[in-house]
Symmetry: C2
Subunit: 777 residues, 2 copies
């Protein structure tokens, strides 16, 4: 009964378009109700950190003030869309203080109808529309939440197909034809998508009285209808008062029909048509007019439930399946979807939701079980994959997975969710999931899913931008080069802190240690005394002057500790020569400086402010009198902030040769059990890269030092920089002699101040955006 269009398949193969047809743009939208700690609908306003609800491109409110909507941009793969939605989800989650994102499409425990807050949009039209909806459908129904999946084929595919197949019609007409064909097939078989994605089988007794009245219950609160895997798609769900069928034969007819419903006052506007699928254009001010002018630009699939089994409400393989189903719909034989067929398709959804996958339906004048038909569809999808992507097992596995959910309805998401709810209650289960997911989001708060190849500082900045509704592009991924954009401003940023806020000469000053020192000194900042040498001979002639002193010998312009020698004790003329020889390998000019005592602190200066102060401590564990050093390391490494290869704010402590040797030097072994409270160091150096800890001292260090850091930055003309200061004892106020600034860095990492080992998140990411976008206004 399911017939592939082999003529079309042949054209695709002849055009060598097999890969192209699987490409496209993917966008996701999802809503989550906010709930309080008890799982009740949160009655608080939309978090103000997200700025303007109406203008924010990524984070808005839906019908209710308590319903957050997250929207990804159009991205190039399901993978990217998935990760972006995950990041939106994480960002929103972390900004909710004592609240959670409700994990079900079905509303949480609700107050009485009039207490449900309608979103305040500060826009009379938007506000009026929501009031009308509330009157027409009741506020409770509007709180049903779900996921929309937006998809478009590549223009290049459609252009090529038009050249091959559609020469008799215009490109726009041809393109519309392609999308309409897909739309019809999706509408026809949407019951299958609803079966496979449905995940809202149970609802709370505070939901619409009529529905609760008609339903069965698992316990006092948790209600359900037998076989109904998606309340949201059911008659008790997010539907118009009655089904409004619109033509999918042409864009013109589609638009005409919707306009007719509006003219008849059956619909308030096009967006009140709660269909499972919409034809869309990129600019949607007046969607219907745009459709006529530009044709279909993408399809919006709207029947997908939030999946409580996934942190972000949808699994990645579900996205893959929906994409494969859309592509499959293009390759299906085209059949009419007139009023009768639309009714049939609509009834099939209701049949599924009332009788389940074993229900019998009429198809091509024969009776067939939904299960059998579903399997036939999946087999046909598999057949298509075998033709277009022979040997691609990844997509085939996705289809195999879904097949199992049909063969064994107990493994469908709805069935699993229902069985989980049976163990506690609708409310308890979903709240528990929400709390679990919040924990997961917190653990990866420092990263931007899908952008893990970026430096952490850039990942944080991108997330901060998203949070306040600043759009972004990646200009050069390898270089962490991004563009941030609002309606009125464009900013280019590289590696998070290289921005338009600093001038070129400022950076050049900081890049050059000699110049830096001169500039700082000229501005009354204490810097280490020292000299610069252009060759070994010059340096050697100064040897006697430094005999017996504590000195540092270092190349003028390296930043990674290469070629640096420190003499704190006695040194011979040979040692001295060797140190210079090594340094000269890295630069033509080598500096000799007095070695500064005290501890080193990194001051992150932004604008006129010290945003964070950090001190690094070598890798260490603290004994408890019970566990060995090995065990203590293992325990400390469990911290989700610790990882390997700079993908996390901290690195795991290793126990390699270097550490073993360092322990040995202290007369210790890794199997020793340190006394309770004893600090055991595993490294001499305090680098984060070798497992060091970063300790936030922002609140401890007196203001006098902060002023020096700000003055240092100002001397170089810097807006954003890292000032490395040696401080003898921060418990004393700064004097002209008890500190020195050893370096200012023009590309300070910000993540270390946001996710230190000990201390607060200093929100350096937000501060950059404040300076770039607020201060510049």
């Amino acid at each position: 009964m399911i017939a592939l269009d082999h003529h079309f398949i042949d054209e695709i193969i002849r055009g060598n378009l097999q890969e192209e047809v699987f490409k496209g743009q993917f966008g996701l939208e999802k809503e989550n109700a906010r709930v309080d700690q008890d799982g009740k609908l949160a009655l608080t306003p939309h978090p103000s950190v997200f700025g303007d609800k109406l203008d924010h491109p990524y984070i808005k409110t839906d019908f209710s003030e308590s319903q957050i909507e997250m929207i990804t941009p159009a991205l190039n793969s399901t993978d990217e869309a998935y990760h972006f939605l995950e990041t939106l989800h994480d960002i929103v989650t972390l900004e909710l203080q004592d609240e959670y994102l409700w994990t079900s499409s079905n509303p949480p425990v609700l107050p009485s109808e009039e207490k449900i807050p309608i979103a305040k949009m500060n826009d009379p039209k938007e506000d009026h529309y929501r009031v009308q909806l509330a009157e027409k459908y009741g506020r409770k129904k509007q709180l049903l939440s779900g996921i929309h999946f937006n998809f478009s084929f590549r223009d290049s595919l459609l252009i090529r197909l038009h050249q091959k197949l559609g020469q008799t019609v215009s490109y726009q007409e041809f393109k519309d034809g392609m999308y309409l064909k897909v739309a019809r097939n999706i509408l026809r078989y949407r019951w299958l998508l609803i079966y496979l994605t449905g995940a809202s089988p149970v609802f709370d007794k505070t939901y619409i009285e009529r529905c609760v009245h008609l339903s069965n219950h698992l316990d006092e609160e948790s209600h359900y209808f037998p076989y109904m895997n998606s309340l949201r798609n059911s008659t008790c769900g997010y539907r118009n008062e009655k089904p409004y069928y619109v033509s999918f034969n042409s864009v013109k007819d589609y638009v005409r029909d919707i306009r007719q419903f509006i003219a008849n006052k059956q619909l308030l506007s096009a967006k009140e048509l709660y269909s499972s699928l919409r034809l869309k254009t990129a600019k949607g001010e007046d969607m219907l007019a745009e459709l006529i002018e530009h044709g279909v630009e993408y399809l919006e699939l709207r029947m997908i439930d939030l999946n409580p089994l996934s942190k972000i409400g949808i699994r990645h393989d579900t996205l893959q399946f929906i994409h494969l189903f859309i592509v499959f719909s293009l390759f299906l034989q085209d059949e009419p979807l007139d009023l009768e067929e639309q009714k049939q398709a609509h009834d099939n959804v209701d049949l599924l939701l009332s009788e389940g996958i074993h229900a019998k339906i009429q198809m091509d004048h024969t009776t067939v079980s939904m299960e059998a038909l579903a399997l036939e569809i999946l087999d046909s999808m598999m057949e298509l994959l075998n033709i277009l992507k022979p040997g691609d097992t990844k997509d085939q596995q996705v289809i195999e997975q879904e097949k199992k959910r049909i063969l064994n309805p107990q493994t469908s998401y709805a069935a699993i969710v229902k069985s989980e709810i049976e163990k506690s209650s609708f409310s308890a289960y979903h709240l528990n999931q929400a709390k679990l997911y919040k924990k997961l989001s917190m653990e990866v708060g420092y990263q931007f899913a899908g952008y893990e190849d970026f430096e952490l500082s850039t990942q944080l900045l991108l997330k901060a931008a998203i949070k306040r509704g600043i759009r972004f592009d990646i200009l050069d991924r390898e270089e962490n080069f991004i563009r941030l954009q609002t309606d009125t401003q464009v900013e280019y940023v590289k590696q998070a802190t290289k921005t338009s806020l600093d001038s070129y000469s400022t950076v050049l000053i900081m890049e050059n240690k000699i110049v830096t020192k001169e500039v700082l000194r000229a501005n009354g900042i204490r810097v280490p005394n020292g000299e610069a040498y252009g060759n070994i001979e010059e340096a050697m002639s100064a040897f006697e002057n430094y005999l017996g002193k504590q000195i540092v010998i270092k190349p003028k312009s390296t930043n990674f500790g290469l070629g640096i020698t420190i003499f704190t004790g006695e040194f011979s003329i040979e040692d001295y020569r060797k140190a210079f020889e090594m340094a000269f390998e890295y630069d033509r000019t080598v500096l000799l400086e007095e070695f500064m005592t005290g501890k080193e602190y990194r001051f992150l200066v932004m604008g006129d402010e010290v945003v964070g102060i950090l001190h690094r401590v070598p890798a260490n564990v603290i004994g408890d009198g019970l566990h060995t050093i090995v065990q203590l390391i293992h325990e400390k490494n469990k911290d989700p902030l610790r990882g390997k290869g700079y993908k996390t704010p901290l690195e795991r402590i290793q126990l390699g040769d270097a550490e073993a040797l360092f322990l040995k030097g202290q007369g210790k072994s890794a199997e020793d059990i340190p006394a309770s409270g004893e600090i055991v160091y595993l490294r001499e150096n305090s680098n984060i890269s070798t497992g060091g800890d970063s300790i936030d001292y922002t609140d401890e260090i007196p203001d006098s030092y902060k002023q020096l850091a700000v003055r240092s930055a100002r001397a170089a003309g810097a807006t954003i920089c890292g000032v490395d200061m040696m401080i003898d004892d921060y418990q004393n106020e700064a004097t002209p002699h008890n500190y020195s600034v050893i370096e200012i860095n023009f590309n300070p990492a910000i993540h270390i101040h946001c996710y230190p080992y000990q201390g607060k998140n200093r929100k350096a990411d937000d501060k950059i955006l404040d300076l770039l976008f607020e201060a510049k206004r």
Copy 2:
């Protein structure tokens, strides 16, 4: 009779201070009268490009508006001082349109007294002082010009000596003692310095009537006194009405005596005391008070004539000799210089000027010829050198030279000048020298003497800064990193065009070709189409798309033409692969771009303005039907703008293998004689480094292209940049299709726009300073 202080010499040697004693700080001041094309005193105002006459640290006016004064800062060697003065001289010369710097200490042809313009200082005190001088001395005498030599020993030397020798007095007293000793010896033997530096033996008949009346004459205009080698130091010269002797026994006495003369109304102020030597302090608001407070900080020797035999008015070996004489004066036995000895010293000068070097003087109760005493002094200087710097032949040669001038008075500067004047006239000779020197200054207008190791762009910027009185420091010589400073502003500049005017992100945009293109494209600028590849395989898979097209393959981020391949004709898959392999050696990302037709022009954008447009042409000669290619190259290479190794704006055309091969490819040989007007190219590439020509098109290219260049700069947010544009035919206005921007450069060279092969000096150096210092206010 001349006795070295051997005790002092021993102390110096014991302290290992032999080198230190020859170090110090050197400053020069000189005046030149401005003259017109006929050698008459110029009556025009001081050139306005030099800004404020009073505040300018380097270029001022002296007594007369027509008398330019040039002042070097204190520098570390006679060499540096010489070069700095040369640069000041060049700068001033080049700004005088139809005027010249008069080469004699004696005034040029003068108008009547009252027509000589007194400098307008816009300062009532200064203006009043000049009026008083004019009344007291007459304006003509005030027009005598000369050179002042300022010198200080190193503080470190004096501190060491104080520790060794002077513990019983304070450091200031000790230091004053050292300088006073030197001062006394210089005053005593100043007749020798005047003999060796005197170069104003003849004067014009328009000079002071009384002097003309008393003198002999060479011709109708040119007057002289027998044996007088320096009019300026004579009774007809720059002297007070009568000699005012002040004590040099202590600073206190020195100050007391001057104050007494002022109190007695004999002097208007301390600076009216026209002594041969002054004690000075660095800050001279109230010099006498400062002397009491801080002691002597340097000595000012004031008896030096302008030497018409040297472009800048003084030879370098003269500076060396004066320095050696100062050092020598420190090592001479100290003898009293009371009133009587001062009179004697004064009379000796008059004796020298009236009787010449063979005059007999009284010395230690015996009669001796000045010649014999001079030789004894020089021998004694030589002896000292042999002790302190054995084997240093350079300084010894200087003394030997001067010795010859004593033994053979005809070789003294004055004698040579007089004999030259005899060939024409006072006025004709000096004017001729002035015109010759102007030509020499113009030939090296692109360079900053003593700073030739800097990039030409930086040399030009430094000179432009000096011109308008902006002080500078060198922060990192190797890196061309300078600090520019006025009383109210500090600017840091690297390589002339890396300034605070551009933001860091702007530079990062330009540094990255992919980002540049994206930014330009997003702002409606046409850029070459193309793609970026991350590895060979990706690139190879695109091969078919580019078959038969004209393409460029280049690394993403190199700026020196390295790793670039251009295919304008057919190319094989192997050629294509090789090109990518080569490019990948330079960058991880390689760009493939369409090859742009048309000619390439460099637009130098500064602010909202295109300052210059340059087109480069390969090395070539133009035939005259007479000379061979070799001869034509030789001729073309005579252009002083051409040199070797980037020290000049253009490079000499070579005739090496590459050029010979290129000629052969055209069926030509280097010995061929090209027809008149025939252009023979010697290279395919148009690089300046291989002898290419730079042609200024600033006035030819239509405004429509300039607007595109400015828009390109603005797209990247750049204030200073080089926009490289391909233009199909500049005779047509720009359209969206007949140009493309192939690069924007954040560190454009400016010298190429100031000293092109053909075209005007576009003064890009001045424009940078306008933007840095004017626009920022």
